[in-house]
Structure formats: C-alpha cells, structure tokens
C-alpha cells in the first residue's frame, strides 16, 4: 500500500469539497418550547438557499445556530467540511469545545442582520475594516482599499465617512453587506435582511443581493421576499413548526407546492 498521507487527506476532504455548510439534526428549545425539531441542511458552494417560513417556524434560530449566536441543544454543524466541536457544559447544555475554532469559523460566515447592527460609534469605512484588520489580521492599507471598492460596489462610497445612524435603512443595510463582503467569507448568512426596511428601500438591497448571487457566492437567506426566493435562489427550504416541511428547486416549488402547508404559506403572501 502506497500510503500517502497528503493524498489521503485530499481524498478525505474532496468527499466534502462541494459542501460549504452541512447541518445535521439541529435541535433547540427555548424553555419548554421546541423551536427546532431536528433540522438538516446541506449547502454546496455557490448555492443560494432561501429559507422560508412563517414567524415562529424557527428559520432565524436555525441560521443563528449555524454561527453559534444561538447554542443548539444537539446536532452538528460543519463549515467547509470542518465540524464545530461541542462539549457538554456543567449545566447539561452544549457549549463550544474550542472558542477559538468558533471565532475562526464565524469569521468565514459573515452575517447580515435584520436590524443592520453596524457599530454605531464607527464610520462606515471603520465598520468595514474593523473585523478584517483585527480578526483576520490583514494589513490596514489593503483593507481600506478593499473597503472603498466594496462601498463603490454597493453604491454608498460617498457615505464612507458617515456614521450609521446618519444614513437611511437601505444605505445601512448595503453598508452591512459590504462589511460582510470585506471578510471574504466562504458563506454569507442573511437574517431577514429587508424586513426592517421601508418598502421603497427594499429594492436597493435586493439588487445588491442578487448581484452577489449572480457572482456565485454561497448564501443562506432567511427572507420573506418571495420574488427573491423564486427568481434568485437556487434552492428553497420551507420550515414549518420547527421542521423542514419541503425543500426543492424554486420554480417547481412555487409552480407546484409540494405540501399543503407551503401552498397555504404562499397563498397568504399572494393575498
């Protein structure tokens, strides 16, 4: 046997190579209420998965369990094939076994929040360079250059020296997307990115997100934007009462809803 460790390692990783995110049997309770009842999800490189569901279906909680902003009670999460190591804490809950590993993985999973969550004491430009320089330890000059380019891309370069509270919601969310891009993330997590916006500002954010999808970024998008789910995403996942109700190709799902729950869900939206 010509055992070559490097080749073996390559073979091992290539089996997972296309899997950017893999979630298995995720469970989470808040008190007595079971929010996630064993959810699994597989995202390959370049996938844009829209996660739909009525409020309380567990879709945001699932997303937040992936980067451990919420601690799942059980289940496993792999990012780029790497398992996030967990341990049992003294009170019987799960806790990260290695917080350094979690921090390193989080830096690869840039998140865009519903309420933007830009750091309000920093200018837009500072918001974009803070994590790349301090977390990824990249040279500041290089980060600044990239930040300016990203701000141009999302169309708010002229606002680069503004503080977030001085900008509209749409501008803040575009800045937040640029902040996420500045991490050169492997996967982008969007948690209802347009839900806090005035209707007339939704379009500018969706346009940026669509352009990211078109350049092949891997994205998990919790959203209520049916148009985005149907036209932009490569896969739609519908959660109902903490379980995966249906998964499929968007055009098919919307043309022929596979379950009565999903049919009901989109019917409510078309009212």
């Amino acid at each position: 046997m010509s055992a070559n460790p490097a080749a073996a390692a390559n073979a091992a990783s290539s089996s997972n190579e296309a899997s950017a995110i893999s979630v298995k049997e995720l469970r989470k309770c808040f008190g007595d209420h079971e929010v996630l009842k064993g959810i699994s999800l597989e995202a390959h490189k370049g996938d844009v998965i829209s996660i739909l569901g009525s409020s309380g279906s567990g879709k945001s909680t699932m997303l937040r369990c992936i980067n451990l902003l919420e601690m799942p009670d059980s289940g496993e999460v792999r990012v780029d094939g790497e398992l996030i190591k967990m341990k049992q804490s003294r009170d019987g809950h799960q806790a990260p076994a290695d917080i350094r590993q979690v921090e390193r993985i989080r830096a690869n999973l840039a998140m865009v929040f519903q309420s933007f969550n830009l750091w309000s004491h920093m200018t837009v430009l500072e918001n974009l360079v803070a994590a790349p320089t301090h977390v990824l330890k990249r040279p500041r000059a290089e980060c600044l250059e990239q930040a300016e380019a990203l701000l141009k891309r999302v169309g708010i370069w002229e606002r680069r020296n503004y503080y977030p509270p001085h900008m509209s919601g749409g501008q803040q969310q575009r800045a937040a997307i640029a902040r996420a891009l500045a991490m050169n993330p492997k996967v982008m997590l969007f948690d209802e990115p347009t839900s806090a916006l005035d209707p007339e500002l939704v379009g500018e954010v969706l346009r940026v997100m669509r352009s990211l999808a078109e350049e092949g970024r891997t994205m998990l998008v919790v959203t209520h934007e049916m148009g985005f789910a149907r036209d932009v995403s490569s896969k739609v996942m519908f959660l109902h009462k903490g379980e995966v109700d249906s998964v499929g190709e968007p055009k098919e799902m919307f043309a022929k809803p596979p379950t009565p729950q999903f049919k009901q869900f989109i019917a409510n939206f078309n009212k």
Partner: protein, 248 residues
C-alpha cells in the same frame, strides 16, 4: 452709606490678606483639590469598571461582591470612610513596619495623607462610577455586540473595539455628575491634613480671624471649579456622541 464704606473696608482687608500670602496658599489649595479629584477619579474609574463588570457577571459570587461594594460605599458617610482609611491605614502600616523592625516598637507610621485621602475618595467615587458604567453597558445595542461576535471577534476585541468606546460615550454625562461629587468629597480629606482648598481656607480663617471672608472665598472657588467643569463635560459629550447627532 455706612454699609458701603464697610464693604469697601472688607474688600481692602481681603486684598491685604490675599496679597500677604494667603492668595498663593489658596491657589495651592486649588491645585491640591484638583490633584486629589483627578487621582480619585482615576482610582474610581479602575475600581468602578471592575465593580460594574462584577455586577454584570453571570457568576453569583462576583455579583454579590459588586453589589456589596456599591451598597457599602454609597451607603456610608464619606467622612467615616475617610477616617477608616486613614486610621486603618496607619494601623496596618505601623504593624508592618514594627514587625519588620524598620521603626521602633513604640513608633507610629502614619498613613501618608494624600495616599489615604485619594484611596478613600477614589473608592467612594468608584462606587458611583460603577453604577454609571453598568447603566452605560446595559444601554449598548445588543445587536452591535452580537455583530461583533458574529464577525469572529474574541471577548477582548469585543471589549476593546465595541464595549469600551460605547460605554465611554454613554457614560460621559454620568461621569460629569460623579466628577462634581468627587470635587466636593475632596474637601473632606482636609481632615487627614492634605493642604487642599478646604484645609487652606480653614487655616486662613483661624489664623486671621476672618472666617466669613475665607469661607466665602473658598465657596466661590469651589463653585468656579464645578461650573467650569460643566461646559467641559458638555463638550466631551458632544464629541463622544457625534455619531448620533446630525452633522451640521
């Protein structure tokens, strides 16, 4: 008319006394008062931030220590705490010095009055600052802390890049208040013999028998110090909250 000429005589006396050396003494007094206040504020800031962190801790033991600190040092008269520190410190220092043989068995090593004073006032100031810091921390938008976690920042980075700048911004108005309290508390450490403004006014009053004159003068000087600090803190507040006020 008689009243006016009386007032004129008073001013003349005041001028004479101040020119005879009490003026310089009072200026030194102001200097010491400011020194005591600044050092006490700094000690208080260190203690206050630790106590605030303890009170916000998830560990019951730390919370208890934090709660006890603020309860005791806000609940006891300042003068009593100063006496405790001064005499307590003297006893401890004397005990240590006697046991190491650096002083004779009947000698006494006094607590240095400045050190004892600023420790006592700093500890009291810290109790008030702890409440300011705690309130400021609780006022930070949770989402911003969450974003810091989501972007892979370690606890130390979150503290340095997000928590400290925001706590400072939110704490400035409250700290202005504590600064004023601390200026006033500094007058109490005259009892330990630091020649700050209060002690100097006291000395002047006793040795010249012009008590009303010197106490009034000291009162005016304290008021000047506290009122000058108000616009300074307002300016600091405008600067630290610049991201929330509309640009002009």
């Amino acid at each position: 008319m008689e009243f006016l000429s009386d007032l004129q005589a008073q001013f003349a006396t005041a001028y004479e006394l101040l020119a005879a050396g009490w003026g310089v003494q009072l200026l030194w007094g102001i200097g010491w008062t400011l020194a005591v206040t600044v050092v006490s504020m700094l000690i208080g800031a260190m203690l206050g931030s630790m106590v605030a962190a303890a009170k916000l801790s998830q560990r019951g033991g730390l919370r208890f220590i934090g709660e006890s600190y603020t309860t005791v040092f806000r609940g006891e008269p300042e003068l009593l705490i100063i006496y405790l520190f001064y005499y307590g410190g003297t006893q401890v220092l004397t005990g240590v010095a006697r046991s190491t043989g650096s002083i004779g068995s009947t000698d006494i090593l006094n607590m240095p009055s400045f050190l004892g004073g600023v420790l006592a006032v700093g500890i009291i100031s810290g109790a008030y600052q702890a409440e300011v810091f705690r309130g400021s921390f609780l006022a930070i938008q949770r989402g911003e802390l969450e974003a810091a976690r989501a972007y892979g920042m370690s606890a130390w980075l979150r503290f340095r890049l997000v928590i400290v700048p925001q706590v400072l911004r939110l704490a400035v108005p409250g700290l202005g208040n504590v600064w004023q309290l601390t200026i006033k508390d500094s007058a109490l450490i005259s009892v330990t013999g630091v020649a700050e403004l209060m002690l100097t006014a006291n000395k002047a009053a006793r040795s010249t028998h012009h008590s009303l004159l010197f106490y009034t003068l000291a009162g005016i000087l304290y008021l000047v110090m506290t009122s000058i600090s108000t616009p300074i803190f307002e300016k600091a507040e405008r600067y630290t909250s610049r991201s929330f006020t509309r640009p002009k």
